[in-house]
Amino acid sequence: MELLVASAIGVLVACGVYLLLRGRTFPVVLGLTLLSYGVNVFIFVMGRLQSGTPPIIKTGAAGYADPLPQALVLTAIVIGFGMTAFVLALAVRARSALGNDHVDGVERSGPERVR
């Protein structure tokens, strides 16, 4: 379980960083989204992985699931969602105002352009 979740976070973050370094705004936005997914899962598992335990301390329960990371991840999701919407709107505005979707606002010559 730990290995699975840890590798999932690693793959998400790696893909996110790769896309973040691309030259077009859309892959960059996707990269930010993947990165924030990876981070959200990371926050979530910082409360430790366990199932079937109550979220509050009860007499007789063997353990409890930490509710705080769940609250934190909710905040992070809301902020991340809002920011994705904003950066998409900004990217569309830039595309229409600058005439291209390069992150620098100017087309560069090179293999990027040929494709």
Binding site: L20, T25, V28, L32, L35, S36, V39, F42, I43, V45, M46, G47, R48, L68, P69, L72, T75, A76, I79, G82, M83, F86, V87, L90, A91, R93, A94, A97, L98, V103, D104, G105
Partner: protein
Amino acid sequence: MSHLIIVPIVLPVLAAVLVLLAGQRRQTLARAISVASTSGLAAVALALLIAADTGEYRVYALGQWAAPFGIVLVLDRLSALMLLLTAVVGVCSLLYAVQGCDQQGKNFHALFQFQLMGLNGAFLTGDLFNLFVFFEVFLIASYGLLAHGGGEARLRAGIHYVVINLAGSALFLIAVSLLYGVLGTLNMADLALKVAAADIEDAALIRSAALLLLVVFALKAALFPLYFWLPDAYSSASAPVAALFSIMTKVGVYAILRMYTLVFGAEAGAAQWVAAPWLLPAALATLALGMLGALASRRLKGLIAYLTVASVGTLMAAVGLFSVDGIGAALYYMAHSTLIIAVLFLLSDLIARQRGDHRDRLERAAPVAQPVLLGILFFVGAIGVAGLPPLSGFIGKVMVLQSATATGAVYWVWGVVLAGGLLSIISLSQAGSLLFWNTDVKAEKPFVAAPASAAAIMPVAALLAGIAALSALAQPMKRFAGDAAVQLLHPAGYIHAVLG
């Protein structure tokens, strides 16, 4: 008194909501609300500063939830100083903006108030995750403010600015949750205790989280190698927004000061002074590159943006010494540099408005409509930012240099700060002579430059008066900054005040 601490957060939110309710049509009402709220903030910040100067920590538990379970706001000398600086810069930028800049786009006043709320919250909160939330609040408002007025340059700079800050937020979250996963708390005072008592096998994780946080704060503060977003963003923003942003880089400085003295300071065991080996070299590199950037700038606003970077370098160099003298000097210099950068951004707009199509580009053009007035203001501003006597920049730099004398880094700090000062004098005198002396008197004026109104000059003059006050009252200010540094380097009082 007890509820006064939360006013700097609640007042701007209320004002922002009222401004939104007033709608786009009733701009006079929106302006009145915004100005009233920001002036109110200045008054409250002054009251809080006086209260904090007794040396007592004031702790406000939100919803009466006791620390470490609830979120607390903590007021000490450093927070109070930052609140007052924010309010002063806020009032002056706003008074400049109501001369017309606020009408170039929608929702300027609401965004402005949310930005103030986020800044004030970041300076007051005693909870690490809450710090993240307030960071996001002022960042989201700043995205809107940066794009205010539209235009291609702003969109281009806006994308870079938003993307790098979102990546920074992701790192912030990783660091915060790592600290929570290891230590089980997010309250800064409690974190300090838990870090000090942490097991040795957790040391590597704690150090990683601490350094990850340093990356995030260095990004906000625009330290080398994370300052590349700043020159474009600040030089393309409209003048009052850029002036307000002069306090935004200082949030990163504030967060570094707070976290690396309180949580990762003298008592932190394996994470003791974890930032110290990185800060000083990064700060000196920032200072050197900022000054070179200023020298190479082809636009006045670009030059000022690079001077912003350089000023962060100077004050972080003093912070990086982690001594009472160093932090005291940094706090004094921070007050000075925030005000003077705001002056220069507002002034650059006044100058650009009188140069027609040349705007703020550093090239030969017809003389401005008010060469004497603007020339004198620019001269005073340049003296201030270059750190020449008699203004507070000189006093601040001397304090920074003095604080480094007894340390091993003395040659580096003296060398880079003094050489940087020389470079800034060269770049400012080049710019100044091009703008005011080497003008093309015979050029056909295709436009009639309207002289700046007294109302537009007033905010600049007010900020310069602040600089003058900082110079004249250097002794009490130095005493205050020194006391704030003592408070920071003795976090036991903070921890005791929060946790009882």
